[in-house]
Amino acid sequence: MKGVGPAVGSRSFVSKLRDGDEIARLITFLFAASVVLITVLLVYELWINSALARDKFGLHFFVTRVWDPVMDEYGALPFIFGTVMTSTVALLIAVPLGIGASIFLAELAPARVSDTLQFFIDLLAAVPSVIYGLLGVFIVVPLMRTVIYPALNKPFGYLPIFKGPSYGVGFLTAGIVLAIMVIPYIISVSREVLLSVPRDQREAALALGSTRWESTWKVVVPFAKSGIMGSIFLALARALGETMAVTMVIGNTPTIAASLFSPGDTIASVIANQFTEATGDLYLQALIALGLVLFLLTFVLNGLARLLIVVTTQKGSGMGNQ
């Protein structure tokens, strides 16, 4: 149990205690265990406090489209849809941009430029979300109504995703604001991962006659793939749970529509909006049940993303894992 190898195992428990090894192990173990404990407690609390709603609606909660506090009828479907939709839009925009920027910063830019830009990116990551919400309200929303909507609706209006009127607020606006928010995470983490790729990998590729871009794209990036995926998870987690900025620009209407211009609502934002004034027991518990759904959604999406990594690394060049 306590011994790791024969050399270590030969020392007595007491002497290890005296050295501090065992104490350090115990303390750090407790720290690590607290993460699991908090997660378990969180789920437990959400589970217990949503009993009424779970009993009443059961699995129908996931497929019901109505959210009516007056008639005490609650369903999560429009909110699940909105959460997935906005996060997907955000990642579709943020992933190519973020990874592109991190490749430039790590591989191509001079060190001084890279460090300076990194400073600004870290700054962006630290901006509170309400500021991004204001940015959305005052810049993205008017821009959406006057520039982006006509540009997409006129030529592509026959496509369901660009159909219908635009109020400025909606899925696309929320997705864009979320993308702006998560890009710094992707860049920051991906750049670190790319920088940590051993030098000899690059040099070997260059020695074999590849160009700089070939060595970057075919050797360095695949080497750092799992780390880059990690940065995307982080971005996804932030996008799924973001509340304030989304509430300010999504229109807060529980709708299920294919159009990106349609107003919608997300799980996090409806909880934030309605929790303080939720008077009925069932109403409150339905909101907590939504929290449970968000937890589940995050869990499932993370699982799917991890599965994606396993599948792609097996098919990949064999250098995928660092």
């Binding site: 506090p69 300010m248 303080t276």
Partner: protein, 342 residues
Amino acid sequence: MKRTAMVLAAVLALGVLVWAQSALLINGAGATFPYPIYSKWFDVYHQKNPKIDFNYQSIGSGGGIKQVTEGTVDFGASDGPMNDEQLKVFQGKRGSAILHFPAVLGADVPTYNIPGVTAELSFTPESLAGIFLGKITKWNDPAIAGPNKGVNLPANDIVVVHRSDGSGTTYIWTDYLSKISEEWKSKVGKGTSVNWPVGLGGKGNEGVAGLVKQTPNAFGYVELIYAIQNNMPYGRVKNSSGAIIKADLASVTAAAAGAAKDMPDDFRVSITNAPGKTAYPISSFTWLLVPAKIQDAGKRDAIKTFLKWMVTDGQNYAEALSYAKLPKEVIEKEKKAINNVQ
């Protein structure tokens, strides 16, 4: 150095002791809408009676009802009266009744942004219900154009804006719509959040105001105080006597006076669509929720004297903060009701 530290510690300890002994702390929680006047009142009252200190957390009406029912605060506050079921739950948990005391009055006003229209529009109950039910979709609909002769209303689609957060403002608005429209009552109903047939949601008065200002052809509702403080244009509304009334502090007080005759003893009354020629129809009380039995004699006396002060001298602070005062009839009735706190 050591001596300074000791003196400092002694002073601190003394300070804590004096503070703990002198101020009787009374905790309250609830509605956010009356928070500015409540904090003004509690501040002024504390200056006059240094031994009594109020601590009020504006966590929302729902939270206020919950906290006072759980007994974690001494009093609650709400923009909507507690319903019969909530009263029953309170009785069961705390073993006594809970009393409603109207504090001040508020109102909702319709606000809009129609390009090219600067005139002050008038709305009938039918047009308001029609717009919010999604039946009236164009600005030049006869129901809107009727009372606004001479205004050139465009044939544009109306963009309806409502509150996305649960709020007393929404309660007043939907309570009004439920009274004037059978269809609204049966299809949507009243509450701090409802299942809106149409429209976009904005968070808070500022969210609704922001969406209305930004979106051409938008129509929404905000609190009167918010509209006054931000110099927003807002429309007039036709009241139950057929008069078209602009909301202001006097017309809101008039609505309460009109309803005062039929005021039930527990003050749980909606004054939307109130009778009276000068009454503004989308008005409401906001209430303090006080348990009928308070064990701690010190707290009981403090709360009762505060309530008496609130309905008399306290009312003079209301208008400076854009809240409408309680009418005399209600104040007289309330003075008697304060004695029911035991």
